[in-house]
């Protein structure tokens, strides 16, 4: 009963409802405008909602997250430009449909399917998270440490082809996170005797720099890109269409939730895997994949929205983010004095159920806004980049400044912006950096706790890992990711493969 009340908190305060609605609406447009991303929006918003209460701040961010994941599909269909990475797979079949003049139908199906996917993700979150949290209470410090390493590695290995660059990015993030005075011994770390560095580097400055400034700088190169206008009609899909794709959407939603729930992997990977899955199981599609198959639209869209709910599972229960956006959400909760993890679920279950409620509401708003207002939408997307880019930069500066009222944070942001700009150009993923910064403290603390409890003995530490099934599994997973990237793995795979064929 209390649970239900907590879920419904959002309806008892019209202000919160309004914020979720506004957030979802804004999210759809931010996600849809190429060059504006959800990660960017959420990281800039943290600093603006800094002085708010926790509930309104979370409402707004949840709305933006939900809306943004969906919004990216719009431009993927209309312009062949995914508004967000999670919509990359959507463009493969969505754009051909738009070229055939079926843009309206594509958007309609996408919207309804995103709603389904989102719903399934949230349901799984609501059902699974309490159990995961109970289970998480048995975690040892070493398990947390291993989980953190695993999360960073997973982001690095799955988000791009080059794991080494991902590992570098993750380690860099951890190093950025430890700058300043060590909270336990008060030793200075990486401060280079500068007073400026003693307080550490504001992670918000890092985030806004990496996701806001570097993105805006990159977009400077396509200022002249023109949007193409498409004719859109007949949006609301028929019941028959929806029923036809329901079995597929259920499968791809489960893929989405699972991938989303893995620490470190989010909607983009879920969408690509679901697309792959749909391609494999659809024996004879009405239209070939890549030329406008409806299945190719349903699969990634259900999966990426289901991944939203999934990504909240490790975030709420373990304090380990599921992807870059949840990493930033964790940052937001930190700022509001909350510490996501199993204890939060036990001490403040209302907070968890409130987030579930906010997600559900955002999902409904997404359906409503998705099926209406297409006309205004095309207008907003056509907003010239020559105006958007300066505005993003301005917002980034305000955002970086607002948290601590320090100009030095603006320079940190700028520095990381330029650095992130080069990282993007040369194929270094940025996600692991943010994950590293957020998880740095958790990793450091838990490593030290674990090794102190084993009396500084590495041998006993590894004995502990081998003795506990959970630690062993996590440890093996970490090792496996490493091995899978070395030449050893490829030769082994080749050998096994050759044996199997001969």
């Amino acid at each position: 009963m209390d649970t239900l009340l907590a879920i419904l908190t959002i309806f008892t305060q019209p202000e919160l409802l309004l914020l979720v609605g506004a957030g979802t609406f804004a999210g759809i447009y931010i996600g849809a405008i190429p060059g504006l991303s959800v990660t960017m929006a959420v990281s800039i918003l943290i600093s603006f909602t800094f002085s708010w209460d926790v509930y309104p701040a979370i409402s707004l961010m949840v709305g933006i997250f939900m809306g943004g994941v969906y919004g990216g599909s719009r431009t993927a269909i209309l312009l062949n430009i995914p508004g967000a990475p999670s919509a990359i797979a959507t463009a493969m079949d969505g754009y051909p449909m738009a070229q055939r003049g079926e843009a309206g139908q594509a958007i309609g199906v996408t919207t309804v399917m995103s709603f389904f996917g989102g719903l399934i993700g949230i349901l799984v979150l609501a059902l699974a998270a309490p159990y995961v949290a109970d289970f998480a209470l048995t975690f040892q410090p070493r398990d947390y440490m291993l989980l953190a390493v695993l999360g960073i590695l997973l982001v690095g290995s799955l988000s791009t082809g080059s794991l080494v660059k991902g590992i570098f990015a993750g380690a860099l993030g951890i190093a950025i996170g430890v700058v300043g005075r060590d909270p336990l011994t008060f030793t200075e770390r990486f401060t280079f005797d500068l007073q400026l560095m003693e307080g550490g580097i504001s992670f918000i400055a890092v985030m806004i720099g990496m996701f806001g400034v570097s993105e805006a700088l990159l977009q400077l190169q396509n200022v002249g890109l023109k949007a193409v206008r498409q004719k859109i009609d007949k949006i609301v899909p028929s019941f028959g269409t929806i029923r036809k794709y329901l079995p597929l959407s259920l499968q791809t939603s489960s893929i989405g939730v699972i991938i989303g729930a893995l620490p470190g992997t989010g909607g983009d990977i879920a969408a690509l895997m679901a697309y792959d899955h749909a391609k494999r199981i659809t024996k004879d599609p009405a239209v070939p994949f890549g030329e406008g198959a409806m299945e190719g639209l349903v699969a990634p869209e259900t999966a990426n929205n289901a991944a939203v709910g999934g990504a909240f599972i490790p975030m709420m229960t373990l304090g380990i983010p599921g992807d870059a956006v949840t990493a930033i959400m964790i940052g937001a909760l930190f700022i509001h004095g909350l510490n996501p993890g199993p204890m939060l679920m036990i001490e403040q279950p209302d907070m968890f159920w409130f987030i579930v409620g906010a997600l559900l509401t955002a999902n409904v708003f997404m359906l409503i806004f998705g099926l209406t207002g297409i006309r205004i939408f095309t207008r907003i997307v056509e907003m010239p980049r020559s105006v958007i880019i300066p505005l993003i930069l301005l917002l980034s500066i305000v955002g970086a400044y607002a948290v601590n009222n320090r100009v030095s944070d603006v320079y940190w942001m700028l520095g990381f912006g330029v650095f992130g700009y080069f990282m993007r150009h040369y194929g270094y993923p940025l996600g692991p950096v943010i994950l590293g910064v957020i998880l740095s403290r958790l990793l450091d603390d838990n490593w030290r706790r674990a090794i102190i409890s084993e009396r500084e003995d590495l041998g006993r530490f590894f004995e502990g890992i081998v003795a506990s099934p959970l630690s062993l599994t996590l440890f093996l997973a970490v090792i496996l990711i490493f091995v899978s990237q070395t030449p050893l793995w490829t030769t082994m795979k080749k050998r096994v493969f050759r044996k199997a064929t001969s």
């Binding site: 060059g35 504006l36 960017m40 603006f48 002085s51 430009i81 995914p82 508004g83 967000a84 990475p85 990359i88 791009t160 080059s162 080494v164 660059k165 570098f168 380690a171 190093a175 430890v178 336990l184 030793t187 770390r189 990486f190 280079f192 990496m210 993105e215 700088l217 990159l218 977009q219 400077l220 396509n222 890109l225 983009d268 697309y275 792959d276 010239p384 020559s386 105006v387 300066p390 505005l391 930069l393 301005l394 917002l395 305000v398 100009v407 603006v410 320079y411 700028l414 330029v418 990282m423 993007r424 150009h425 040369y426 194929g427 993923p429 490593w447 030290r448 090794i451 500084e456 590495l458």
Partner: protein, 191 residues
């Protein structure tokens, strides 16, 4: 499916978020230099991390920094070697594709913004920045530029100052008086 596929194969496609733009089969201009700089910087950091607590204790404050910077050195070293072996992409140049003048100009704008923020205050600095930036990017007349820049600044200022209650440096503008004036208007209307 190619795991490196991220939307359009052209890196100017406007995909957003942390989408890396590197190529798997070639070396972009400046990529090797960047990798070498990263390796050198990682080495410096490793030295600095060693200085925190050395090898005294596994639970010391320097243990995790040393481990991470060591990982950074190894990873950056491998990246450098791999990049070294890749053939250079001949269709791109540093000044056109990686660091065009526009990017340098805007970085300069942002540095100036930071310098002027405290003495001038937020509103005049932002007005100056938006006007210059839009003028440079849009190639439109002064009327359009000023209208868009000042119009959006007013909206942003109202949103931040009133909705988000963010404190921004007031500088030379009598911001508090303006807000007080509007508060007076509002409360006057309410009573």
């Amino acid at each position: 499916m190619d795991p490196d596929f991220r939307g359009d194969s052209d890196h100017h496609d406007g995909t957003s978020d942390a989408t890396p733009g590197g190529y798997t089969q070639g070396r972009r201009p400046g990529e090797l230099g960047f990798a070498i700089i990263l390796t050198a910087a990682s080495l410096c950091l490793l030295y600095s991390a060693y200085g925190i607590s050395g090898f005294t204790a596994l639970s010391g404050p320097g243990a995790v920094p040393m481990a991470t910077t060591f990982v950074m050195v190894v990873a950056a070293g491998i990246v450098t070697l791999r990049t070294w072996r890749l053939p250079r992409i001949t269709t791109e140049t540093l000044s056109r594709d990686i660091l065009p003048p526009m990017v340098i100009l805007f970085t300069g704008f942002l540095i100036l913004f930071g310098l002027l923020l405290k003495p001038l205050g937020f509103v005049p600095t932002a007005a100056l920045f938006l006007t210059l930036a839009i003028k440079v990017l849009a190639h439109r007349g002064w009327g359009y530029t000023l209208a868009v820049a000042l119009g959006s600044l007013i909206v942003i200022w109202i949103v931040f100052r009133v909705v988000f209650t963010v404190l921004l440096p007031a500088g030379i503008l009598p911001e508090a008086e303006v807000i007080q004036f509007f508060r007076g208007l509002l409360s006057g209307g309410a009573s």
